[in-house]
Symmetry: C2
Subunit: 303 residues, 2 copies
């Protein structure tokens, strides 16, 4: 089943203790679509300025990603500048320039309207609602967000949550939004708005899936080299949704597997700056790490 | 197989966002021995002052814990005062009064010398070495430590590590000791000193077992109510070592199960102040949570 993503395409300047990149290709829709493309057909809706390095859109197309929904507008591409400390779990935003993204109006190409799996990347909740109103055929919709929208547009964001099947959110955001320090209580509060599944991303500590009062927990795949966590959340979501849409199902068993897949795909992303590692990846490497992951967490029943 | 623990018996004054206790019974040997007593026979070596509430020593004895090795000395019992913020992962020490513990000289009762499983709680590395030199029959020795000894007695501590089978250490301590921010590299460095297993405790995020270049990772058991993390590390170690000594084996399979057992036992400890929750616990509740834990982390293989 084709999977639709609406999100940003960006030029990121990122500094970590292990190096720096300037104006490297990034953005939620870019990370998401590459991560998902290992599993399913992906359609992208977003906007770039005339300064975007178009060969990267070709790279997406070459992977079979449908880029018809990427608009090119006069002006500059969205830019983000951030840094990470040794504690790679938290990004520090230094600068954000919305540029062409400030006037972003997510119009769906006609042929995208039948998308059954939809991911609403981290954009203004107003725009997320606008996309939602167009997706009449959607069977499973997930959304992401960020601290900025929780602070500025909490009401609208909760309206989005009421209309989606799943919310993907990180640990500090779920605490901020719910006003609860305990993450189970916080997850329950998000679930009470409507989504039948809530995923809490915990960086190197893995992820929690909360469904119908059931909890699934995994640790993060352990890595000796973490260069740049940028895009890890979107790579997680891409792997997750890609796997789900390929399975054409979203029962507990498939959701759990999808969390593992998302986590493993994200573990590759952080091994290099920008989308470098994802672009050189192939499915056999993902599959190998999925097997390693199983071995990492496996134990015999205790009688 | 009887399991020997050498550690502290203390009176703790603890404040968390959820309440406060004053001069409550605690200490590594106390938490450890109760946690281990669900699985095996335990022998305790430690020291208390005349002000220790002796009915608690009776409570240990009533559980079948051998308390012959607890010396009663003229003077006051070791006292610790600490607090925790909403981030319950890190204790803040407000006061430490060693009192009778400052002159602690761990002499083994004759009948303890045949102990095959030994846990060296967080005491001066010099004392840990002194215990080690007496335990000629030991088959599996594990040790704990803390930031204070890493800072003040690193050389002696590494000497301890050279002589034990396993080191149990928390995430910030392993970083401090190794000078490495990445915990896999940090764990490898600890392993290079000699122990064949290293366990890194990650608080609510679970634990990592590192053996012979194999990694086992589990998330923490998710709890809606966490009142007081004091003793969680020692309860983990007690559950772990208790299970191990009962299995009379320490291959990879058993070590992995023991990590799960330790984690589950520790999850009870934090649900109340002091040793309250551990004292009211029975094996069927532990067993029930072990089954829940299995369900929490289980997923079908991904093809």
């Amino acid at each position: 089943m084709p999977l639709l993503v609406v999100g940003s395409l960006a030029l990121d300047t990122v500094e970590t203790p292990f190096g720096k990149v300037e104006e490297a290709v990034g953005g939620s829709a870019v990370y998401f679509s590459i991560a998902a493309s290992f599993f399913t057909d992906v359609r992208v809706v977003g906007v770039v300025g005339r300064d975007f390095p178009f060969k990267y859109i070709d790279k997406l197309s070459d992977r079979g990603i449908d880029t018809k929904g990427i608009k090119i507008k006069d002006g500059k591409t969205f830019r983000w500048k951030g840094s990470y400390d040794y504690d790679l779990n938290q990004a520090k935003t230094i600068e954000t320039h919305l540029n062409v993204f400030s006037g972003f109006n997510p119009e769906m190409p006609e042929e995208y309207l039948d998308s059954e799996y939809v991911f609403l990347g981290n954009i203004h909740p107003e725009l997320q609602l606008q996309v939602l109103s167009q997706m009449k055929s959607a069977k499973f919709i997930a959304c992401d967000t960020m601290n900025y929208w929780i602070e500025k547009e909490k009401g609208k964001l909760i309206n989005v949550f009421k209309k989606v099947n799943m919310v993907v959110i990180n640990e500090s955001e779920v605490r901020q939004l719910s006003g609860e320090s305990n993450i189970i209580i916080a997850a329950k509060k998000i679930a009470s708005y409507g989504p039948s599944a809530v995923i809490i991303k915990r960086g190197e500590y893995g992820a929690m899936l909360f469904t119908n009062n059931r909890i699934f927990l995994i640790p993060g795949y352990p890595l000796e080299t973490v260069f740049d966590p940028t895009g890890a959340g979107d790579s997680f979501a891409g792997g997750f949704m890609g796997y789900l849409s390929n399975c054409m199902s979203f029962n507990e068993e498939v959701l759990r597997q999808a969390v593992v897949v998302g986590s493993v795909v994200a573990s590759f992303d952080v091994e290099d700056f920008s989308i470098n590692r994802l672009l050189e990846l192939d499915y056999s490497r993902i599959n190998e790490r999925l097997k390693q992951f199983k071995n990492l967490v496996e134990f015999k029943e205790i009688k």
